[in-house]
C-alpha cells in the first residue's frame, strides 16, 4: 500500500515535469520552424543557420526529456508489463521505416532477417518497440558511411545461454548487428550505465543522450529478460536481448 502510494506520487511528479518542460519547448521549436519556413520573408544564410541550431537544440532537448521521463518511470513510476498479441515483424518494419531517413543520409543499409518466419508474439508491445528503437538508432549512429545494420529475429524453446535458469514455453532472441566502430572489452559493460558514452565517440556526429542503452536494458530486465553486447573494436557490434515469452504463440 505504502509502496503503491509512493509510486503514484512519483508518477504525478514525473508527469508534471514532462508537462512543464514541453510547454516552453513548443515555443522554441515552433517559432524557429515558422521562421525557417520563411513564412515571414526570406532569411540570409547566417539567420537560417542560427535558426536551425535553435530548432535542432529544441529537438535534442525533447529527446533528452523523453529519455529521462522513460528512465524515471522505469525507476520510480509505472513498472507494469502490459501483454498483448502483435506481429513482431510489423513492429520492426515500422521502426526501420521511421529510421530510414537517418540511415539513408549515411547510405547505411538496414535489413531484417527472419528465417524462422517469426510472426505474432505475446509481449509488451510498447516496451519492445522502445527497446528496438534505441538499439536500431544507436546502431545507425555508430555506423560509418555505407555500413550495414541488420536485425535478426529468432524464437527458441530452449533458454539462451544468458538465461540458462529461466523457464518459459518460448524464448525470443533479437539481435541488432552493425558494422560500426565497435566497443573495447573494458567498455562493453560500462556503456549500459546511464550517461556513459565512450569518450572517443562522444562527438557531435554520434550525439545521443547516453540513456538509450540504460533504458533498453532495464526494459528487457523488467520483462524477465537479459541484454548483452558482442563486439570487436573496428569490426562492429551486435546487441542481443532475450526474453521469455509467457504464453505460446496463438
Amino acid at each position: 500500500m505504502n509502496q503503491h502510494r509512493h509510486s503514484e506520487t512519483e508518477t504525478k511528479f514525473i508527469s508534471a515535469i514532462s508537462h512543464k518542460l514541453r510547454t516552453p519547448l513548443n515555443a522554441i521549436m515552433g517559432f524557429s520552424e515558422l521562421l525557417l519556413d520563411e513564412t515571414y520573408g526570406p532569411l540570409n544564410e547566417k539567420q537560417a543557420h542560427y535558426l536551425r541550431n535553435i530548432n535542432v537544440s529544441g529537438k535534442n532537448l525533447l529527446i533528452l526529456l523523453e529519455d529521462l521521463i522513460d528512465l524515471m518511470n522505469l525507476r520510480w513510476g509505472d513498472r507494469e508489463v502490459h501483454l498483448s498479441t502483435f506481429s513482431l515483424p510489423r513492429v520492426v518494419q515500422e521502426i526501420c521505416l521511421a529510421a530510414g531517413p537517418a540511415a539513408s543520409s549515411k547510405r547505411i543499409t538496414l535489413s531484417i532477417q527472419n528465417d524462422q518466419e517469426v510472426s505474432d508474439i505475446t509481449a509488451d508491445e510498447a516496451k519492445l518497440t522502445k527497446i528496438l528503437q534505441h538499439l536500431i538508432m544507436n546502431a545507425i549512429r555508430f555506423t560509418p558511411e555505407a555500413g550495414k545494420v541488420n536485425v535478426t529475429l529468432r524464437l527458441s524453446s530452449q533458454p539462451p545461454a544468458h538465461l540458462a535458469d529461466a523457464q518459459a514455453p518460448q524464448f525470443l532472441e533479437v539481435s541488432v548487428a552493425d558494422t560500426g566502430v565497435g566497443i573495447k572489452p573494458e567498455d562493453q559493460e560500462r556503456i549500459f550505465a546511464e550517461f556513459y558514452q565512450v569518450p572517443a565517440t562522444n562527438t557531435p556526429e554520434h550525439k545521443g543522450t547516453g540513456l538509450g542503452l540504460t533504458i533498453a536494458r532495464e526494459l528487457v530486465t523488467l520483462q524477465g529478460g537479459t541484454m548483452w553486447v558482442e563486439s570487436m573494436e573496428g569490426r562492429g557490434s551486435t546487441f542481443v536481448f532475450a526474453l521469455p515469452l509467457s504464453a505460446a504463440q496463438p
Binding site: 508527469s15 514532462s18 508537462h19 514541453r22 513548443n26 515555443a27 515558422l34 519556413d37 513564412t39 525533447l62
Partner: protein, 125 residues
C-alpha cells in the same frame, strides 16, 4: 469563400501566438481565449467551426470546458480538439473518451499540425 474559423484556447500566450500565426498564414480566421470562462463566452457569442483546447487552464480544466460545451445544445456539435503538453497514452485515451475529436501533443510538429487541421476541415465540410 469565407475563411474557416478556429478558436485557440491556451493560457500560455506564446502557444496562442504560435498557433494563431501558423493558422493565419494558412488562411484560417483565428480567435483566442486564455481561460475556460473566456472560451465558453467566445464559443457562445461567435461559434467557431473548430475549437483547439488546452487541458491545463487556470480557472477550469479543458475537460470541464468540453463538458459545458457538450451540455449546451447550441454548442454541442462544435468539434473540439485537445491541444496538450500531456503525452502519456493513457491520458490521451482519457481525453478521447471524454469526447475530444482528436488529441494533438505539444511540442507541435507544425507540418503535421496544419495537415491534421486541413484534413479535419475536408472531412467535416
Amino acid at each position: 469563400m469565407a475563411a474557416k474559423t478556429v478558436l485557440i484556447v491556451d493560457d500560455t500566450r506564446l502557444n496562442r501566438e504560435l498557433v494563431k500565426d501558423l493558422l493565419e498564414s494558412e488562411g484560417y480566421l483565428v480567435s483566442e481565449a486564455e481561460n475556460g470562462r473566456e472560451a465558453l463566452h467566445c464559443v457562445r457569442t461567435q461559434p467557431p467551426e473548430l475549437v483547439l483546447l488546452d487541458i491545463e487552464l487556470p480557472d477550469m480544466s479543458g475537460l470541464d470546458v468540453l463538458a459545458a460545451l457538450q451540455a449546451d445544445p447550441a454548442t454541442q456539435n462544435i468539434p473540439v480538439v485537445a491541444l496538450t503538453a500531456h503525452n502519456q497514452p493513457s491520458e490521451l485515451q482519457r481525453f478521447l473518451s471524454a469526447g475530444f475529436v482528436a488529441c494533438i501533443s505539444k511540442p507541435l510538429n507544425l507540418k503535421m499540425f496544419t495537415q491534421t487541421i486541413a484534413t479535419f476541415f475536408t472531412a467535416h465540410s
